[in-house]
């Protein structure tokens, strides 16, 4: 479904991505793990065309999307929940959701998807008239995911959905991620919380300073001693 082939990206003269090659197949949850500054967010931003690709290609469903504009990428079916959530603080919860469905014109479908979002995250329904900026961190993460789903993406990019959240909330968010996937959405999940990510994912890639250094089935990575030592806190 999605193929990154030797993708490179630069911030000025700093090369953030040196060689990122990865594949996401339809129906999968694939996770991308790695330390701070490894280039995980940059990879997602390159897919969404927010960061320009300096080399290599990105192909989505057989179509080269390397140099498309961000809104074209979204129109093709790739939506991102960015790191730090980036909800619109002065728009109400409902307006945030409407922005998620910006490119869609099917009113009835939008209404139904709003209801579906409220079903996934009942708290958002209570808060629907409130400005997004007044929500708690966990609620904002729920809103960010719900907002992205309003686009009916075929591929959902999630950047650190567990960041800064209480363990209970993280559990809830990961349960929802699994549910979204079983409902038919393919997911590329970036996480620092490698334990949780590898438990929910089918396959994983390990990124180190802008390069994919390891990949495989999630269960194998979870059992790999090197991965355990570097990313799962097995210092022993």
């Amino acid at each position: 479904m999605l193929e990154l082939n030797r993708v490179q990206a630069f911030y000025g003269t700093i090369q953030a991505l040196k060689d990122v090659t990865l594949t996401v197949r339809s129906g999968e949850i694939v996770t991308l793990i790695g330390a701070n500054g490894a280039g995980k967010s940059t990879t997602l931003m390159a897919i969404s065309s927010v960061v320009a690709v300096g080399g290599g290609t990105i192909v989505f469903e057989g179509r080269d999307i390397t140099r498309l504009s961000t809104d074209r990428v979204v129109a093709l079916g790739i939506t991102q929940v960015p790191e730090g959530r980036m909800i619109f603080p002065a728009l109400t919860v409902l307006e945030n959701l409407r922005m998620g469905g910006y490119l869609r014109r099917d009113r009835a479908g939008l209404r139904a998807d709003e209801e579906h979002a409220f079903q996934l995250f009942p708290i958002l329904k209570e808060r629907r008239k409130q400005p997004g900026g007044t929500l708690s961190g966990g609620e904002q993460q729920m809103l960010a995911i719900a907002r992205a789903l309003m686009a009916r993406p075929r591929l959902l990019l999630l950047d650190e959905p567990s960041l800064g959240l209480a363990p209970m909330v993280v559990e809830h968010i990961f349960a929802v991620i699994a549910r979204i996937n079983t409902e038919g959405t393919t997911i590329l999940l970036v996480e620092q919380n490698a334990q949780m990510a590898l438990q929910v994912a089918h396959r994983g890639y390990v990124l180190e300073t802008g390069r994919v250094v390891m990949s495989g089935a999630a269960a194998d990575l979870l059992a790999d001693p090197k991965v355990r030592e570097a990313y799962l806190g097995d210092g022993t």
Partner: protein, 295 residues
């Protein structure tokens, strides 16, 4: 006397408000002080008069067409001058804005000459210059009522566009977080163009109303009006649309009272004194709430 000053101040203030929303909306979405906005206001007046005198159009038709032309000029201004600098340091765009202001002013000087022109009053419906309301010493002309109605009507319409339409909501989203807006599938450049069109249309209406009200138009008229309206936008909290509206009215009334009770020599001084006071006492403006109230 006081009532008359208030009416004059309100008229002027509504016009400032119309111009100020253009500054504040553009600032909200691309953090640029569009110094050429005053020139769009000036062009509105000249387009309208030219359409009346050269093309022989009736006033209302000429006004509508001039406003549409200015909306297109605003879009063009952004595409030609500012879009190439979107990723450049802000100072580069700011200097370009000043350059575009000077360029447009001189272009108008070349086309229409430097002498100020009277507004072709014959084209105006006759009732506009009659008194609509007289109460003792206080009078209100139909023209003033027309200005009130147009200005308030446009601001209500703008409010509805910003808050009730899909594109208006996209505008606010863009003002709050450009990356997130793009990730929603919003075509950022299209929404910026839309913002320029809206702001320029409001500015053009103001230019036409002023030319009619004072019965004069000249190529440098955008300068003072631009600075005053910018002051009004800062007064209300730059980036805030309701703020620009309130700021314009407050400034217009303050000016009229200052001119009426102190000396008309202080008219412009009042505007700047008010702006400086606000910057010192409440830098975020009357309605500014840091970043959260944008657009």
């Amino acid at each position: 006397m006081l009532e008359q000053q208030l009416i004059n101040g309100l008229t002027l203030g509504l016009i400032y408000a119309l111009i100020a929303v253009g500054y504040t909306m553009v600032y909200g979405v691309i953090q640029l002080i569009n110094f050429a906005h005053g020139e769009i206001y000036m062009l509105g007046a000249f387009f309208c008069v030219t359409l009346i005198t050269a093309a022989g159009l009736p006033f209302y038709v000429a006004m509508l067409m001039a406003v549409i032309c200015c909306a297109l000029c605003g879009i063009l201004l952004d595409i030609i001058a500012y879009r190439p600098l979107r990723r450049a340091p802000r100072l580069a765009a700011l200097i370009t804005a000043i350059g575009m202001s000077i360029f447009l002013q001189n272009l108008a000087l070349i086309i229409w000459g430097s002498r100020s022109k009277p507004f072709p009053r014959a084209s105006l419906p006759a009732y506009l210059s009659e008194q609509a309301l007289v109460m003792g010493q206080v009078g209100l002309t139909w023209l003033q009522l027309f200005i009130f109605a147009v200005a308030i009507g446009m601001m209500v319409a703008l409010f509805l566009v910003i808050h009730k339409t899909r594109t208006g909501t996209a505008m606010r989203a863009l003002a709050q977080n450009r990356t997130a807006a793009a990730l929603m599938g919003i075509n950022v450049n299209a929404v910026i163009s839309f913002t320029f069109a809206l702001g320029s249309a409001m500015g053009a209406v103001a230019g036409i109303l002023v030319a009619v009200y004072y019965n004069t138009l000249y190529p440098t008229m955008g300068y003072t009006a631009g600075v005053k309206a910018f002051a009004a936008a800062v007064l209300g909290g730059i980036g805030s649309v309701p703020g620009a509206m309130v700021g314009g009215v407050v400034l217009g009334v303050a000016e009229a009272l200052g001119a009426g009770y102190v000396s008309s020599l202080y008219r412009d001084g009042v505007a700047y004194a008010v702006m400086i006071a606000v910057i010192v006492l409440r830098p975020s403006g009357i309605l500014g709430r840091a970043a959260i109230d944008k657009a």
